[in-house]
Symmetry: C2
Subunit: 306 residues, 2 copies
């Protein structure tokens, strides 16, 4: 097994995690979670999303979350997810330097998400690119490994959106397994093909653990040279418009795995565990991580306890 020496982690819990929580989370708690996760050492973070407050009420405090980062080194590492130009405008107005623009490879999912075809979303991506040439833009390519409405997504659909984004000068593309249906052989095949066609792109993966294969898919991606992953502290998360999409790969599970494989991340797993504990105690939301303050230890003290 041959892996990259170093992997970057993009934390998405404050966006992909919180957006699926129905019960209101206090803005001050969101800001504290963002701060603690940056302090744990993640390279990048999706801190919120600028979406319709009607569609996702939980994200209505996006501006306050972003503004809390002003004057800190974290603002340069913060992404906001936006589904359209209007969201991009609000994000940039509030000081965001990095946009994650989401487009689904499958038409049915993109229609369900933003009521546009992928081609129409690409046109909107073009407008965002033109309006903000100085802003870093990542394409979050949803349903790249399967769609909850259409099932298998033909590779041509994935290629079309990728090609469209590449034409617009996007260099940062994240392949998202929105509903957790990817399997290791598929990850190897799709990643290898895309990397071959577009070696200049900074590829990353966003995996959900819905069917228990996020770690196995991670290893398959590492073997193909992927060195950037999106994960959510506590394994929170799920797309509100993709039924059954619960459970991002947990950040602590990812960091534990990478630590064990001898891959450098710069992330302190104990600080992620502490951030998750704070988050679950304050927000009442529970995730699906395997690594916690008990399982992080492999040796048990006190044999009497057995």
């Amino acid at each position: 097994m041959k892996f990259p020496k170093k992997v970057r982690i993009c934390e998405v819990g404050p966006r992909d995690g919180f957006q699926s929580v129905v019960q209101w989370i206090e803005t001050s708690d969101k800001i504290e979670v963002v701060k603690r996760l940056f302090e744990a050492g993640v390279d990048l973070m999706e801190v919120t999303s600028f979406v319709s407050p009607k569609a996702i009420p939980q994200m209505q405090d996006a501006a306050e979350v972003v503004q809390s980062l002003k004057g800190t080194p974290y603002i340069g590492k913060a992404f906001a997810l936006v589904p359209n130009k209007k969201g991009a405008d609000r994000a940039v107005e509030n000081g965001i330097n990095r946009l994650a623009v989401v487009i689904s490879a499958s038409e049915a999912h993109n229609m369900s998400n933003v009521r546009k075809t992928p081609a129409q979303s690409l046109k909107e991506l073009s407008e965002i690119r033109k309006a903000y040439p100085q802003i870093h833009i990542k394409l979050s390519l949803a349903t790249a490994f399967g769609c909850p409405f259409e099932g298998e997504v033909p590779m041509e659909r994935v290629q079309e959106v990728v090609d469209g984004a590449v034409t617009l000068g996007i260099h940062d593309i994240c392949l998202c397994d929105t509903i957790g249906v990817a399997v290791p052989t598929q990850v190897s095949r799709i990643v290898a093909e895309l990397k071959l066609n577009h070696p200049q792109i900074d590829w990353s993966l966003h995996l959900h653990n819905t069917r228990g294969l996020a770690a196995a898919n991670t290893v398959a991606a590492l073997e193909e040279g992927i060195d950037r992953f999106e994960t959510a502290a506590g394994g929170l998360g799920g797309c509100p418009f993709a039924p059954g999409a619960s459970g991002n790969m947990a950040t602590e599970d990812m960091v534990y795995l990478l630590d064990e494989l001898g891959i450098v991340t710069g992330v302190n797993v104990n600080k992620v565990i502490a951030a998750t504990e704070f988050m679950t105690s304050r927000t009442g939301c529970s995730g699906d991580s395997k690594i916690n303050s008990v399982t992080i230890h492999k040796i048990f003290q006190g044999r009497g306890a057995v």
Copy 2:
């Protein structure tokens, strides 16, 4: 990725799963679960263990469970786990044809389990082998990837028990990640080394998902040619003498993964899911499987539901 074309599943839920359940499970329910899991198509099953009823009261009905299989084709596929000669005697008396003799690679775990050193347990294995030359014996090599008391287990300790068993004419060895600490690179390394030294052995793996890596470890083992795995319906389980060892790799998660990889198992995943649902509804014990009657479907009916 190169995998075996066919994989055999040894179900261990009725043994490794039930033994960790404190609340009494009715013998008739145990027998029904065993029957349903055989009907789902598993090749082999650990149906119970002949251990001290004082140590593990849940297994006190081992004789009745085994006797329920008499006159059925399943008796030939049924293993009983035994920790010593006394257990082997009881198992064989009751009609068992396959014994799983458990020995830990780490001394501290073996002492905790059976109050013997691994060398003393090998001597007992020798007695069992001599007493029952006609009985199929599997060595269940516990703590092969790590020990809850000693931490890392040197490869020499693993080799010693393997060599001892091979000398006794054992051809069936299962490497058990008793507390779920194995990582894919370690699995590749240990399996490759053992297979190289003992190519005549029918190797299998028994993985726990304590740290979320059972599926990733499975893929690593498949790549090394392992074609037999021990799993527990519902992801139940854990060694009662290995703290934190909760969660066997779930049979339905394994079969789903193998199905997706195009590997033949002969197991009907829907029947395993149904057996798990029966088991959890009747026994009150809940496991840790990701695949269930919802997640087995990748396409969601009715978009209105989002």
